[in-house]
Amino acid sequence: MMLAVLLACTSEPVHERAPAVSPLEADLVAQTWQVRMADAATRAPYEAHPGWALLFQRDLEGALHAFGERPDDRGRARVHLELAALYRQAARLAAEATLQVYGADRQATDPADVDYLVGVSETLLGKPTQRLEHTPADSVYATRVTDWRTGGWPATAAVALAAEDPAIHERTLRERTPEAKAVRVVDPTELLAVSLWHENEATRLGAAARWLDPWRLPIEPPSTVERPLADEMLFAGFLPAEADAVFVSAACSGERAPDVYPRSILAQAIEPALVDGRLDVQKVREAAQDLSTAMRSAMIARSGQEEGYQRAFAALGQLSVLRAAVCVAEVLGQPDDAGVLRLEIADLSEGAARDPVFLLSLAAWDAAHRNVVRALDIVHALGRDHPQLELARVPLDAMSVRLSRNSAPAAPVH
């Protein structure tokens, strides 16, 4: 019932707009979880379990706890997937920041063992590395470097840590100065291990690996084992239907042609925005808005009335289009447009649409672009719900200090 109460509270009036979909698209719209869940009986199991209300509010830790208290394997599987994606992005964030601070902006006084961290980061990000040849003096890292040298996926060093519910630990290395001050560091291996542990749990509970594809690290191949994507993996998420998971997985793995996914509403929405082989961002915005409108109309038609949850559900549909378009823009060699879309998604990420996984991926993207202010804000905010993420910010902190000390001078202003 918690979810029912929560959804009722989001009631807003519908601003009438003519549906913008063709009959074929209307059929696809009807297959989305948003529209199917407009049927009270279909939605009832989700309203009956508090875990789904917490998931809808993006309280992942709370949802995991709730699904454990009143056992629901599919609910738990879904949350483990979300957490696996979250910590994949944390690993990526740490790797990107490490590469910037101890790679691009390396200083002679940095501890020698940061070479290991740079090597791990380069590996995770799919870049060739020679930084793992030297064995670190740090005993923990010395053990792991051997595993990393073998390369490939799955990363043995992280798999070993993921065997049991792993934790993330900060370590200190010594600067190469007479004072030998302690430098805080975090190994992305540990963040990846947390992610792999959640993925293992999700898989054990029956989740489909494809769900994770958009969030995989550059070193990883996309999933190969195909399992059906149950409604529990879609509800309150950004994949309107199972066919969209296939399309998004392909698009985020570098595949180019959305028109080969006729059963994907996201592919169908984005396809008209492709003009002369390029993605037109304004058309994407309009397509996203149109899908949102179509979903709201279809939900009203199915439920027989306007109901509180419909606006929030449709907003998730709108964001689904924008998120899929990010991958398409990247594939088409339009990183600038992909960036614009990312920022727009962030601006729309409020309430149920405030997805920590996406936000952390934005922070990782920012770190790769040496933009630390927003990245730190995001990680700090997410750290309230996920305290372990605070440790992912350690290299980001180092990057921020280094960049700020090498910037144009600036005084405070009011």
């Binding site: 001050k181 920022l343 630390v372 005084a411």
Partner: protein, 522 residues
């Protein structure tokens, strides 16, 4: 072609829709001269008019220049030879030349230019030579890592000034000449910006009007009714209304802003650290943010986060071992005040035989963002036994009197500071001397604080710098030249007819060429 259009004065008719876009700012800019940018309003307005030598792309964060074609280091890294792009025109149609770049450097180095912005560049630059009209050679004080990162100053026109001694009150400050996408002129009630297509700019909005925002509720209603198309800073309590509208969109504005109550530590009895600590304990910050910002304890992802020192909590310089103070602790406060020699007579605090009256000021424009904060602070201190008088301080008085350390009549002033990537607080807390402490509001002076600020400045490694600021945070939280309040995030709102409106961190309008607007109004 662009130059011809500008020369013929037909630019507006060929740009986009020719529509005028109006927006509410927090206040009017105090100046349009980049050397005297005092507020975020100033920086935002100036970003439309001028080009900085290098800037960060608001999307990719790439370091780019709209003025420099190519560059190379010289003199073993202690100089940079830069070649300007062709076809860059000033708003008076004169071509940009290396003389302008070197003039700007010379103006910043001229001790007769009393600018904080210029003062900071004196630690980076020693001079500039021209080598023909297109080549300028910048000379650095030392070899810098990524020196372009340090060259974020706006370039000024040499022809706009009689000498390199640039004063803040010149006519240029109201009617500047830049190379930016818009030509600006400041009036008494607003600023009008007219599009100026250039070799490096193709603005799509013909005219932009900056208006001073008044009552926030009126601002929001005006936006919804399409009387204006944007609001730069929407107060948190009004954000839900705008989020619920399909006709406007909220935009994040990345800025590190924190709020404070500065304490006049030169004045009795506030010169006693125990009195400052007592006042700190008397403030119930949760109540303050509840009544002024609309915060509630069960609010997830609140835009308002308490701080215990001079950094936002997300900053690497924030010392997490120093706890924030959420509620009042009246018993301990009274103990500290009594120990400092204050006595309570009839429920009112007295010092040296007379009742203590606190003169409390607040920068008036902050009242829009945190309505009633001034009264709330006054009420809390009044309820604790202090007589008080509250005053709203105009931007002009804030700049002329408060920021220059001359507001000695005030006991407390409420303000906020905003930062970008650089969080240098030395200006705020260093003893005013030799160019240091230029924004030290009440001439606060503490040797230990000065030593830590200097340790930060001279730090050889990042760890040393971070350690110095962590220690500074702890020390300031104890000595309390400021009662630290909170960080408050900034959200803008623009009508959905405004498209491509990427908001750049800190400078806001860096990507203004992308903005376009199709008016649907009759």
């Amino acid at each position: 072609l662009h130059a011809w259009r500008a020369a013929a004065g037909v630019a507006l008719s060929v740009l986009g829709t020719g529509a005028t876009l109006a927006y509410f700012e927090e206040a009017l800019p105090t100046t349009l001269n980049p050397l005297y940018a005092d507020s975020m309003v100033d920086y935002r307005a100036q970003e439309l008019i001028f080009d900085r030598l290098w800037y960060h792309d608001a999307i990719t964060n790439d370091l780019e220049s709209r003025l420099v074609e190519r560059w190379e280091l010289a003199d073993g890294g202690k100089a940079m030879r830069l070649t300007l792009k062709p076809n860059v025109k000033w708003h008076d149609l004169q071509p940009l030349s290396s003389k302008d770049v070197c003039f700007t450097v010379a103006a910043m180095l001229d001790p007769k230019t009393p600018s904080i912005v210029a003062q900071q560049y004196r630690s980076v630059l020693t001079g500039c030579d021209t080598d023909g009209p297109e080549v300028a050679i910048l000379k650095f004080t030392q070899v810098f890592h990524n020196p372009r990162e340090r060259l974020g100053f706006a370039v000024l026109p040499a022809a706009g000034f009689p000498s390199t001694a640039i004063a803040p009150d010149m006519a240029f400050s109201a009617r500047p000449i830049g190379t930016g996408p818009m030509k600006g002129a400041k009036g008494t009630r607003g600023v009008t910006f007219d599009a100026f297509p250039n070799g490096q700019h193709t603005p799509q909005i013909a005219q932009l009007q900056l208006q001073e925002g008044g009552d926030p509720l009126v601002q929001v209603r005006t936006l919804i009714n399409n009387g204006v198309q944007g609001i730069i800073a929407v107060p948190p309590p009004l954000r839900p209304d705008l989020r619920a509208s399909d006709e406007v969109a909220m935009k994040s504005y990345d800025l590190r802003s924190w709020w404070f109550v500065a304490v006049n530590s030169r004045k009795a009895p506030l010169h006693d650290q125990r009195v400052r600590q007592g006042l700190d304990l008397l403030l119930d910050r949760n109540e303050l943010r509840k009544y002024s910002i609309g915060w509630s304890p069960d609010q997830k992802n609140s835009p308002c986060e308490l701080i215990s020192g001079p950094f936002v909590q997300s900053s690497p310089y924030y010392n997490r071992t120093v706890p924030v103070r959420e509620s009042a602790d009246r018993a301990n406060a009274e103990g500290l005040l009594t120990a400092a020699g204050l006595t309570q007579v009839g429920g009112r605090w007295h010092y040296a035989g007379a009742p203590v009256t606190l003169d409390i000021g607040m920068l008036a424009s902050l009242d829009h963002e945190a309505p009633d904060l001034l009264d709330q602070v006054g009420n809390q201190l009044g309820a604790a036994g202090f007589d008080r008088q509250v005053h709203k301080i105009s931007s002009d008085e804030w700049n002329r009197v408060v920021k220059t350390g001359k507001a000695t009549d005030y006991d407390l002033v409420i303000g906020k500071w905003s930062f970008g990537l650089v969080e240098d607080v030395n200006h705020l807390f260093h003893t005013r001397a030799g160019g240091q402490g230029s924004l030290n509001l009440f001439d606060y002076s503490n040797r230990e604080v000065d030593a830590l600020l200097e340790a930060y400045e001279k730090a050889y490694t990042d760890t040393e710098a971070q350690d110095a600021y962590h220690a500074l945070h702890a020390l300031l939280a104890e000595d309390l030249p400021y009662l630290f309040l909170w960080k408050l995030d900034t959200k803008s709102s623009w009508r959905t007819e405004v498209k491509g409106n990427v908001v750049a961190p800190y400078f806001y309008f860096t990507e203004f060429d992308r903005w376009n607007y199709s008016s649907t109004a009759p």
